[in-house]
Symmetry: none
Subunit: 138 residues, 2 copies
DNA sequence: TTATTATTGCAAATATGTCGCAATTTGTTA
DNA sequence: TAACAAATTGCGACATATTTGCAATAATAA
């Protein structure tokens, strides 16, 4: 059993959950360098049912084993800088509400510094926080 | 015609595209404070067909009028910190290269502070920079 | 107004995500 | 190892989201 698999087992056992073959397969599929889409996971794990993959992904997310990244389907839309004012967002994992965070000079300054150390000329950026809003974190 | 509508018309004309009623309506729906979901747009613009809204949104995105935002329930999946290393990305607009940016304590600290002022319990965040890499910015 | 072209509406197809329940697997106990 | 209880999965049906072809409509220019 690989290192990561052992880590998974510990995490599962801590919650009284079992280390099963489908869960191992999905974990294995996550080891590729690139983040995977649902469709890719389904393809990579043909022996695991689609519904099960969704359930496993949901579980892994709750256990903090994986996280979702922006690149496609469920999304919100807003006008870009030219048509609007630049700011950031904090979205509640529970109720889905999006809180607007005003541009922050300390943050922007730090971003510039980090970019410069890499010789990167930043032209724009997108920052998204996720967690629980005031109402949902009670 | 409002200021923003005129701006839209200019953008469209530049590409030989027309300023139509559905496009104006979708633009209007985007003027609300909160970012909108597809479902919300469809509700706000009942006279515009669902398929057309999708097409208009796709067009607006290409024209740089609107942008998609991550909101917690999304797309690609990757292992979290414990099973992987947390980092950010800087992508070069010119050559497409992605630079990995290590986690930065100053940045993380500031994010926590900003969240707290809003009563938001941050659990994770995602940061994407775009601009020019060292090689391309010469 | 008319012709030409761009856009849209409609309806059907495809893709994505969820749910209940029976079948299977896992862990436990003997 | 056998047998049981609980956890987990597969299956199929359902619900929702997104895309596509094509005919109908609206916009532009003459």
């Amino acid at each position: 059993m690989t290192n990561v698999a052992e880590q998974l087992q510990k995490t599962l056992q801590g919650k009284g959950l079992n280390l099963t073959r489908p869960r191992l397969l999905v974990l294995g599929a996550m080891q590729y360098k690139e983040p995977q889409t649902m469709a890719q996971l389904v393809t990579i794990c043909p022996s695991v049912n689609r519904a099960s993959i969704y359930r496993i992904v949901t579980l892994f997310e709750k256990l903090g084993i994986i996280q979702r990244l922006q690149t496609g389907w469920k999304y919100k839309l807003e006008l870009t800088n030219e048509f609007h004012v630049h700011h950031h967002h904090a979205t509640c994992d529970n109720c889905g509400q999006t809180i607007i965070l005003a541009e922050d000079s300390i943050l922007e300054k730090r971003l510039s510094e980090i970019s410069e150390t890499k010789g990167f000329k930043m032209r724009s950026h997108q920052l998204e926080l996720s967690g629980l809003c005031a109402a949902c974190s009670v």
